[in-house]
């Protein structure tokens, strides 16, 4: 039966064969064991695709040298003055490589290309030392949010220090659980630079950041670093005006959290698929107090650095192809 199910499924996928589709559905409708087999087959298939996709990206990153990055064009910067604050950190990446699937059973096959484009590898180098604006950002490329400051380490590298939990732009009675710092990203230049054609490729946005904790307050032993990315089809001013309620209108979201512990340090990544309708990304890095305190609390020496937003562009997979 497994062979029959596989054959029918591939007939539908590869040739859009309506007779096979009817037969496949009839088989699944009438035989519980066929449903069990099909479910298991598809979960295994997804595990396989996930594995192959991961291996492809890893091999690209491992084998290909990083091509020198270039700035966004002046045209793009002029198009939106809001890009200016992060222009120094907003770098275009380049072709990382070609997925080397050249031979199948001794015969050459077409190449699949995956690209990684670095949007923002922000090390806070373009910011003034000291407090960041204490409000939700209204311009693209601006770091602002709850109380936090840019500091310079002894080695000259910069990082952002979370000062205390707060409730900026939240409901007046809201809880002050975390210190959140935000940046708005215009996705249009990314699309232009990627030559994004949604039907032919899938783009995944990945937000990464390094969190560090030293000397946590005795009453806050459970601090956690959090990365979040939310995508909207909206204007930045509208997002700022309606935050956080507008989160309900997000077209895609991703998040990742890590417990730091005393002296803890960890780099984490959150990711989500970039849908064609998304126009603006809100990225945030936060230090969460791990407690539902209703008032602001100091966060000791807790830091975030090396915040990067990356777009990973993969060719579309063939499973949905019909002729």
């Amino acid at each position: 039966m497994q062979e029959q199910l596989f054959s029918l499924l591939e007939n539908v996928r590869n040739a859009g064969d309506e007779v096979s589709r009817t037969e496949l559905n009839q088989l699944l409708r009438e035989h519980p064991e066929a449903r069990a087999l099909m479910s298991e087959m598809l979960v295994n298939e997804h595990a396989l695709i996930s594995y192959l996709r991961h291996e492809s990206i890893v091999s690209i990153l491992d084998r290909q040298p990083q091509v020198p990055l270039k700035r966004l064009s002046d045209r793009l910067l002029r198009r939106s003055p809001a890009w200016q604050p992060i222009s120094a950190g907003l770098l275009l990446g380049a072709l990382l490589g070609v997925l080397g699937v050249r031979m199948v059973m001794g015969m050459p096959v077409a190449e699949a290309v995956a690209r990684q484009i670095t949007l923002a590898d922000h090390k806070f180098s373009s910011l003034d030392l000291g407090l960041i604006p204490n409000r939700f950002p209204v311009l693209f490329g601006e770091w602002s949010g709850d109380p936090a400051e840019v500091i310079e380490r002894a080695d000259g590298n910069r990082e952002l220090r979370f000062l205390r939990t707060a409730n900026i732009a939240g409901a007046p009675s809201g809880l002050a659980r975390s210190c959140d710092v935000f940046q708005l990203i215009d996705l249009q230049p990314l699309r232009e630079q990627c030559g994004d054609t949604a039907s032919e490729q899938t783009t995944v946005l990945k937000l990464s950041a390094s969190f560090r904790q030293e000397n946590p307050p005795a009453d806050l032993p459970d601090l956690r670093g959090v990365c979040r990315i939310s995508l909207f089809q909206a204007k930045p001013e509208s997002i700022a005006k309606h935050w956080p309620g507008i989160l309900r209108d997000a077209v895609a979201v991703g998040g990742k959290a890590v417990r730091l512990g005393v002296g803890g340090e960890s780099r984490i990544s959150a990711s989500c698929i970039l849908p064609p309708e998304a126009t603006v990304a809100v990225i945030s890095v936060s230090m969460h107090a791990g407690t539902n305190t209703g008032h602001a609390v100091g966060l000791g020496d807790s830091f975030v650095s090396d915040v990067a937003l990356t777009a990973i562009i993969q060719p579309a997979f063939p499973l949905q192809q019909f002729h």
């Binding site: 295994n44 595990a47 695709i49 199948v104 063939p318 949905q320």
Partner: protein, 173 residues
């Protein structure tokens, strides 16, 4: 700063189980692109409803329920000719899909071991079909083999992997 998804335990649970949810979507749609779309819509719904989840209860059954409704909504939104399964079949497969997906992480771990046992040619065929945008017919034409021969080879590899995954999972258990 309060937000609808501000609960750290919710973020941790969603992060942990997102691959499982994606596998569940794929098991119901048999199409990687649709599964990605539905997963994203499911995540948005989960974040909207984060306050409904009791962190002292299991996350996955609740998330499966939300994903199920999202999949069915996807079925109603899409034209029939874009879909592989009929809606009543998806509803009939729900139980099996949840059971198969629930241990997705174990399956993926087992698969990583099993793929390493394949020959280079076998892996190349999988790459060509599952990541390099090649149809079976294109692979057949490029290799000078018949379509049915390529399909049979792919089936044999998939069977080999399925057997190995089950064996590996039993050993790990």
């Amino acid at each position: 700063m309060p937000a609808p998804f501000d609960d750290i335990r919710f973020i941790e649970a969603l992060t942990r189980y997102q691959p499982t949810l994606e596998a569940y979507c794929h098991a119901n749609l048999a199409n990687e692109e649709d599964a990605g779309e539905v997963l994203q819509a499911t995540c948005v719904k989960l974040w909207e409803k984060a306050a409904d989840w009791d962190p002292d209860t299991a996350f996955l059954p609740w998330a499966f329920a939300v994903a199920r409704f999202t999949i069915l909504a996807h079925y109603r939104d899409r034209k029939r000719d874009r879909l592989i399964f009929d809606e009543d079949v998806v509803q009939a497969m729900v139980q099996q899909s949840e059971e198969s997906s629930a241990n997705f992480e174990d399956r993926r771990e087992a698969l990583a071991v099993c793929v390493k046992k394949l020959t280079e040619k076998q892996v190349a065929l999988l790459q060509a079909y599952y990541t390099a945008n090649q149809t079976l017919r294109e692979i057949a034409e490029a290799s000078g083999r018949s379509l049915s021969a390529v399909k049979m080879t792919l089936l044999r590899i998939r069977k080999q992997l399925a057997t190995c995954i089950e064996r590996q999972m039993r050993a790990n258990a």
